[in-house]
Symmetry: C2
Subunit: 457 residues, 2 copies
């Protein structure tokens, strides 16, 4: 078999960088979500760009699929090697290569995680802003065009990657972008690879934009009588130009999950969690102005603080939300949803979704990065329960329809992987074919993460 010939040659050339151990295959055969386990034939742990290029050339010769792997936290089965072949695990390529404090940029290998990167940056007064709930790798985050709670202020991976080194499907190594803050020098290849889910090339190095740690931070949380008031409060805050660094929505069901896992004394009502970054006077002023908007929308009282401990507690709870929610239904598998709509349609979108879930047999707490119009209902399914799985799929499909009907997108930040393939035609029409044309031009053998993102032949 061609895959096995490739594996033999990989093992000959790269030695113990290739593993075929059962535990390694199993570890790289599952995802965080509801997709069935699917084992790769081998797992590669490259140390360097050269090893990646060598491996890709060997795989290309033998027609062996290659699927990149960061830490496997993606939520749509992105990193599952559904056509077999090798998984390329970047965990050994995890160095922070060069920090340029003056230019506020950093060069990293793809396997470094966002939290370790920020630890290494601490002394510089700078930070990397993108923060998905999981401690993902920078390579995985670039590949899925990830974002998180701070996108409303600092943007997504699209906005925070300046340059890449990429190994192409034929083993060529290219560099895209530069350390300049902007450029008009030809097609934006950096932007093309960001979000391409490992289907166009493997990212072996990234230059990231950094931000200065704000002089002061204030953060707080408050309850609202209903979803509509909470969302209207978000819209008005944005329109008033109050500069939000974070604004997260949490529904009552989600608060219930937090209470079970962290013992918070929040009321079981919809909440907003917010944060402001700026000078000391500015963050106090902004928190105060936000408090007024909250009151106008019958929310509050808005408790806020500039104390680091209280802030950390708040965002820790938020970041662990996915795990808390699973506690609502122990043993459940999760189906993540991720729609993003124009802000003017957000209340409607959340309310329709809430009603739809309430009428279904499964729980689906909702939270979201509402400053961007992006929210998730985490659908919790009893493993092996076909009726619940069907109910979840139907709910997710109706959310996707809803997002498109409102001028939005089926995925704000998680990506397509396997789980959202069925909506690509509806979202992009002929644009999806254009994506296929690009894929075939850059990966004619279809070896890079096959079965994902693009229409299968």
């Amino acid at each position: 078999m061609t895959i096995h010939t490739a594996l033999d040659e990989l093992s000959e050339v790269l030695g113990d960088r290739l593993s075929r151990s059962e535990s390694d295959l199993a570890l790289h055969g599952r995802s965080e979500a509801h997709f069935p386990e699917t084992l790769p034939d081998g797992v590669l742990y490259p140390d360097s760009t050269e090893q990646v290029a060598t491996a890709v050339r060997i795989c290309a010769t033998h027609g062996c699929p290659i699927t990149g792997w960061g830490v496997g936290t993606s939520l749509e089965g992105h990193a599952l090697a559904t056509k077999g072949g090798v998984v390329m695990d970047f965990s050994r390529m995890d160095k922070v290569v060069e920090i340029n404090a003056e230019d506020m940029d950093v060069r990293v290998q793809p396997g470094v995680t966002r939290s370790r990167l920020n630890e290494e940056l601490r002394a510089t007064g700078l930070f990397f802003s993108v923060d998905p709930g999981a401690d993902a790798t920078i390579g995985g985050m670039a590949a899925t065009r990830a974002s998180g709670t701070t996108a409303v202020r600092y943007g997504t991976m699209r906005d925070n990657v300046r340059a890449l080194e990429v190994v192409m499907a034929d083993g060529r190594v290219i560099r895209t972008g530069s350390r300049a803050r902007k450029s008009s020098a030809g097609y934006d290849l950096t932007g093309l690879f960001v979000g391409s889910e490992g289907t166009l090339g493997l990212i072996t190095e990234l230059t990231l934009r950094l931000w200065g740690q704000p002089e002061a931070v204030s953060a707080g949380v408050c309850a609202f009588p209903d979803i509509g008031s909470a969302v209207d409060c978000v819209i008005e805050t944005i329109q008033l130009g109050i500069p939000l660094a974070r604004i997260e929505f949490i529904d009552a069901e989600c608060v219930r999950a937090f209470k079970m896992s962290s013992g918070t004394d929040m009321e079981e009502k919809p909440h907003l969690m917010v944060e402001f970054h700026g000078s000391e006077t500015a963050v106090a002023e902004e928190a105060a102005r936000f408090g007024e908007v909250v009151a106008e929308h019958r929310g509050g009282p808005f408790h806020w603080s500039a104390k680091p401990e209280e802030r950390t507690k708040l965002w820790k709870m938020r970041h662990e939300a996915a795990y808390s929610m699973r506690a609502l239904k122990p043993g459940a598998v999760m189906m993540a949803t991720d729609i993003c709509v124009p802000i003017s349609r957000l209340a409607e979108a959340v309310e329709e979704t809430t009603a739809d879930i309430a009428a279904s047999p499964i729980p689906g707490p909702i939270l979201g990065h509402v400053g961007d119009g992006n929210f998730h209902a985490t659908l919790l399914i009893e493993p092996g329960n076909a009726a619940e799985m069907k109910a979840a799929k139907d709910l997710a499909a109706r959310m996707a329809d809803r997002a498109l009907r409102m001028g939005g997108t089926v995925t704000g930040e998680h990506g397509i992987g396997l789980g959202k393939l069925d909506y690509m035609e509806a979202e992009h029409g002929d644009g999806w074919s254009v994506m296929g044309d690009i894929k075939r031009a850059l990966d004619p053998g279809g070896l890079l993460n096959p079965g994902k993102l693009i229409r299968s032949n």
Copy 2:
């Protein structure tokens, strides 16, 4: 001839939307820069996306090149039909289709100019932020990935286009992006078309991000003893996190041009022009803090004001800079340069360039969007003077080398067109071939703006 068959059929199907008048050909045969005149065979003035698609299908059938045209202000000969065929002039597709104030976005046809768009937006309290020195069209600006004085705060066209309608080389009409603020739904086609200079598709509609007009604005100008101090002042201001809305550098030669054309009483020294956007207290505070940084760098006094008249005068002078500079050498043609480097290398880059120009036989006043590390030396050449043309080309080539050596890009905002083709290999290496692969996949006949951006076969 195939081009003529195409023209006959275009005239049959589209009637007077096609012009072959000498004046129209001449008008679309020249550029703002030093490139020789080159006439197209016909000029099309489509009224609608359908007409664009029809025309493209006819041209595709007959192998007739098509080059888009906004208002022809691009600086690298982008819109010249060097292989003949038709120029597609978008001036009749200039409608503001839909303003969504709540979502802070607007849908426009490509032929609307930035100043008219902002006039139409005035009553909404919102504005479109990208402002190249010329009153360019939004379609042309997207095609060149333009920016301008406000990019340091609001980003470039890359950051301000949410969605596009594009007519592909085979006449298919696709939509990219959506009205959502972010998305991870597949390859970023919007980002791919932005900056593609009409070589991958023709843009027939754009959805743009808008910004709230700031509550207050302060602006000012100050002189520095030398270039190094001015640039160091920029770097420190950015590192202190003082939020700049604009920061422009102008060298002494450039001030001389301003004095000749507008009679300003500025000293013939390097200057910075700056602007701050925010609340009334914030913009006053920021101007004051900036004034301190200026003084530390031996600049000043820093005069600032929150009065609209004074601000308008300041930026009018800046926006008319290119025209003022030509007055330094009446009748001269201009070669624009446009390098962008990491901010830490900016002083070095400007100083080396200044010395290089001083040693050459031609004038080249320098100004730039220094907050992004981007600056232009406008090289002024006597028409028909081969020695001056050679001197200019050599200076421009050395600027390009300098930018690449410092980790930057040969073009921060103007694009490649004809003038920067020779540097693509040096900037992108194999990445340039990847751009060629994409071009061939989406425009296999090579009909869209042939001869630009991509390596010619």
